[in-house]
């Protein structure tokens, strides 16, 4: 058991925690981030859709909401952030579909509101919304159901991989001096006069500030510190990823408020899902998918794009959003100091959290400063992150060069996504310790066979690189070993 002292303790390694950590690493400050899971971004972040820049649909939000402002403020920050961190971000634009004449009023209203907000809440760099007529819609999206008579086009919508962004933020924060501790669960907090004493599964941490970015566990953490009461109202949605061969079916994110949404992903798959609606989760922290939701989502996706078929689904998961308190407002988020415990700062981002994260991180710096933390610029701060090599995207010449440098790039491990041993070793070097960790960094097992072929091979590489037996390699940390016994072990155990 260790004992650590730090100035700022960030609890939670999701998009909020890592964005804050990375923002803080611009300054000379002793900061530590603890995450109970085996990797970053494996909670709500993993469950969020791949849409990175919200636009027209967030215009529905009330402008007085803190959350709305953060989302709008985050819009122009995302592209430069992804550029610095060297991760792909693809502008695909969205089409909010209109079914009938009555629906025509909405785009007018939204365009009007957008123009009103632009320059006020929304950066003038954000591209304006447009109305698209039936013919244009047809020519842009020939596979769309023919019932739609037009669409509200938002060119700002972009896709990326939220987990990759989170991992990149964490890596960059780590390189710039933030202490990152995985598999470290906070078990108790006692507040002193100037400091907190925090008990974790790996030892105790003394700190002056706590940033509560614990996602769906935000209430549990606040309770430990006798801080705020959070009335969590978890809401479930469903999302599914389709085989890459269906990737060309549509090129924009298409959605309608009654039907679901279908969108290309950054990796060339297709993705569909239904927005959460108001269905409450069966119980807290239940991330399981259910058939009813899956069937509804599929049916709605087919209303939009009739060729979407269940047989092309390669993976599905629950997307979920934890609302703080529906008395205050559905989409309300909290970024602010606890009313009861000084220097305990909650950072719960509502929907859509990924987009708001860069703005939340900036705001956190202001809050900390306001509450007495002296932040001096870190002259050594390096905002840039080396890109993960992506063999499949390279030209023939680049492939040759890379294999000549390191023959492990000539060894294709995952055939569906063309991932090489070189990339997997690099991912492990950068911190992947689990099968999911490797998968989220360089994609082996993300393809149509879902690890059927590469699973045993990635397990072997992980065991070799980490110097552990294969029976200790886990899917996602904890007790998630993929292989429980060595050959003949069960027979020897018999009398």
């Amino acid at each position: 058991m260790s004992r650590i002292e730090t100035e700022v303790l960030i609890v939670g390694g999701g998009i909020a925690g890592t964005a804050i950590a990375r923002e803080l690493s611009r300054y000379k400050v002793d900061a530590t981030l603890v995450e109970k899971g085996a990797d970053f971004g494996q909670g709500i972040t993993k469950c969020s859709s791949t849409i990175m820049c919200q636009g027209s649909n967030t215009l529905e939000f009330r402008s007085e909401y803190h959350n709305s402002r953060l989302v709008w403020a985050g819009m122009p920050l995302m592209a430069p952030l992804c550029q610095e961190l060297n991760i792909p971000l693809k502008k695909i634009g969205s089409l909010e579909l209109i079914k009938n004449q009555a629906g025509m009023r909405r785009p007018e209203k939204m365009i009007r509101r957008f123009n009103e907000y632009r320059g006020k809440y929304i950066s003038p760099d954000v591209e304006p919304l447009q109305f698209i007529d039936r013919e244009t819609l047809r020519s842009w999206e020939p596979n769309l159901d023919r019932r739609y008579i037009g669409a509200l086009y938002d060119p700002n919508i972009a896709v990326n991989d939220p987990v990759r962004l989170t991992i990149a933020l964490a890596e960059n924060a780590g390189q710039n001096g933030v202490n990152l501790l995985l598999e470290t669960e906070v078990l108790g907090i006692s507040a002193g006069i100037d400091t907190f004493e925090v008990q974790t599964s790996k030892g105790s941490i003394k700190c002056r500030y706590i940033i509560n970015a614990a996602g769906e566990y935000i209430g549990n953490l606040a309770q430990m510190a006798n801080a705020d009461d959070f009335a969590l109202y978890p809401v479930k949605s469903y999302q599914a990823v389709l085989d890459k061969k269906m990737g060309g079916l549509i090129s924009h994110m298409v959605f309608s408020s009654e039907d679901g949404m279908v969108s290309p992903t950054i990796h060339g798959n297709l993705f569909f899902g239904i927005s959460p609606g108001t269905q409450r989760l069966g119980k807290a922290h239940d991330h399981s998918t259910d058939k009813k939701l899956a069937d509804t989502a599929l049916r709605r996706a087919q209303e939009l794009v009739p060729d979407v078929s269940s047989k092309d689904i390669i993976n599905s998961f629950v997307g979920f959003i934890v609302f703080r308190n529906f008395e205050i407002g559905w989409h309300e988020c909290t970024v602010g100091v606890s009313r009861w415990v000084p220097r305990f700062i909650n950072a719960s981002i509502g929907f859509p959290g990924i987009c708001a994260a860069p703005a939340v991180a900036r705001e956190m710096v202001e809050i900390l400063t306001r509450h007495g933390l002296r932040l001096e610029e870190n002259p050594e701060f390096n905002p840039y992150q080396k890109a993960m090599p992506d063999f499949s995207e390279l030209s023939d010449e680049e492939k040759k060069r890379l294999i000549a440098e390191d023959p492990r790039y000539g060894h294709v491990v995952c055939r569906c996504e063309t991932v090489t041993e070189g990339e997997i070793v690099e991912a492990i070097k950068r911190g992947a310790k689990t099968l999911d960790g490797v998968k989220f960094r360089c994609r082996p097992g993300m393809g149509r066979c879902q690890g059927g072929f590469c699973g045993p091979r990635v397990t072997k590489i992980l065991a070799r690189e980490l110097g552990i037996p294969e029976t200790e390699v886990t899917k996602k940390g904890g007790e998630s070993q993929n292989l429980m016994y060595k050959s003949k072990e069960l027979l020897e155990a018999q009398p």
């Binding site: 599914a240 061969k245 991330h287 399981s288 998918t289 259910d290 058939k291 899956a294 269940s310 047989k311 689904i313 390669i314 993976n315 599905s316 998961f317 023939d396 492939k399 040759k400 294999i403 000549a404 023959p407 790039y409 000539g410 060894h411 294709v412 055939r415 569906c416 063309t418 090489t420 149509r448 066979c449 879902q450 690890g451 059927g452 072929f453 699973g455 045993p456 072997k460 294969e470 029976t471 886990t474 899917k475 996602k476 940390g477 904890g478 007790e479 998630s480 070993q481 993929n482 292989l483 429980m484 016994y485 060595k486 050959s487 003949k488 072990e489 069960l490 027979l491 155990a493 018999q494």
Partner: protein, 419 residues
């Protein structure tokens, strides 16, 4: 051998690729290469340590490695050049191959002809979209087979298997022998998906419970699988409420179907049959792209490896002929259509000039049937099942009966006695 001079390039060195390569050499092609992503020839045969291979081809009961060994030796003896640990990542319509390996890096070449023998892959959990959590311990039967028979691990101790395909049943026996407890084999259909031999020798011999007309409706467990819920299904294969039953287990194996591996074929613009998932071919096993042939599970999923070998020999021989003649062979244009109770037929077209071997599968099990190939051939069969392939030989002699203007031959599987 310079790659630029290659006559026939075979992609994949499993049973299909090896048979094709050997036959291509025997048929006179001088420079034959076989490209394989694994470290050795043989493909999945290495992990199929059970017996039952070669009963037809060698008239002997061999294990997978033994069956493979005979072909591996012949590949070496006939002077086929193996390119191991080499992954083909590109194939174009004009037969350009792009491949990577650690020795030469990225290589490209254009052989005179190509045989596709990439085999198939297993359907995964995603395709079934089984509700529940996403713990460790859910894997396909073939992946489990590799762990158990090659890598040296047993994935868990209490196993449920979804699907009664052959690999699933064979793994039920293997895991039982390795000391694990197979709690249930769950099959959606009213009959098993694999061979009867495997039902008897893999399930009944070990008293493994088989739940027909059932499916897994939920996976439980956060880190590792803790249990699965199964339920009976109705005629439309939907779970029946109230019939759920939860079985404690730590592992769920999936044996729910195989899919021909045709990413390269699609890349090359080869047309696929939506039913088989493999290329459309004629009786020479030539695809819709001139000079590209296919055989084995990449074409359609076979029941027995013996049939894979035979079919691929045909593809190999045709590829050799194409390479030697150096001019495109005319594709067969008489289409073979699936009629009553026939799910698919390979080849999809024939020329009517040469011997043709038809492989087909039925849609529903039936007893005492008659297979009618247009009006040129009728054959009585005692029983047919979707899990077992039917093979019909159409000698050139028989095909002479075809009327000159024949464009299409319908194959029916009719109940004898009835209409």
């Amino acid at each position: 051998m310079k790659l630029q001079d290659v006559d026939v390039a075979v992609i994949g060195a499993g049973p299909a690729g090896m048979a094709a390569a050997i036959k291509a050499r025997e048929a006179g092609a001088e420079r034959v290469v076989i490209m394989e992503r694994a470290e050795e020839l043989g493909g999945l045969l290495h992990q199929c340590v059970h017996n039952g291979f070669g009963l037809l081809y060698f008239n002997q009961d061999l294990t997978g490695p033994e069956y493979g060994h005979r072909f591996i030796e012949k590949v070496m003896d006939t002077g086929v050049k193996p390119l191991l640990e080499t992954m083909v990542v590109r194939l174009t319509e004009d037969r350009q191959i792009g491949a990577v390996n650690a020795r030469e890096g990225y290589i490209t070449f254009k052989p005179k002809s190509i045989v596709l023998a990439m085999g198939c892959r297993e359907r995964s959990r995603g395709a079934l979209d089984i509700p529940g959590t996403r713990p460790a311990g859910v894997l396909t039967a073939g992946t489990a087979q590799r762990y158990v028979n090659v890598e040296g691990f047993v994935p868990g101790k209490k196993i449920v298997i979804l699907g009664s395909g052959d690999i699933g049943m064979i793994m039920a026996r293997r895991l039982t022998l390795e000391g694990a407890q197979v709690e249930a084999v769950v099959e959606m259909l009213p009959y098993i998906g694999g061979l009867i031999r495997n039902e008897v020798q893999c399930l009944h011999d070990f008293e493994i419970p088989l739940f027909l007309e059932h499916t897994v409706t939920r996976i439980h467990g956060e880190d590792r699988v803790r249990a699965v819920t199964i339920a009976r299904v109705d005629g439309r294969r939907n779970p029946v409420a109230g019939t759920e039953k939860t079985i404690a287990c730590d592992t769920l194996l999936l044996s729910v179907g195989l899919i021909p591996e045709n990413e390269l074929s699609v890349m090359a613009g080869i047309q696929l049959d939506p039913v088989t998932g493999g290329a459309l071919v004629d009786e020479m096993r030539q695809t819709t792209v001139s000079g590209v042939f296919a055989g084995g599970n990449v074409l359609h999923v076979h029941d027995l490896v013996d049939n894979v070998s035979w079919e691929s020999e045909l593809a190999g021989e045709s590829a050799a002929r194409f390479a030697l003649e150096g001019k495109p062979q005319k594709r067969g244009e008489i289409s073979i259509k699936a009629g009553t109770n026939i799910r698919y037929i390979v080849p999809q077209t024939i020329s009517g000039q040469r011997d043709a071997t038809l492989y087909m599968r039925v849609t529903e099990p039936e007893e005492m049937v008659r297979i009618k190939v247009g009006d040129i051939l009728t054959k009585g069969v005692r029983a047919v099942k979707p899990s077992e392939m039917l093979k019909i030989e159409l000698p050139a002699e028989t095909l002479k009966k075809l009327k000159e203007e024949t464009k299409e031959i319908v194959v029916d599987c009719e109940k004898r006695g009835g209409k």
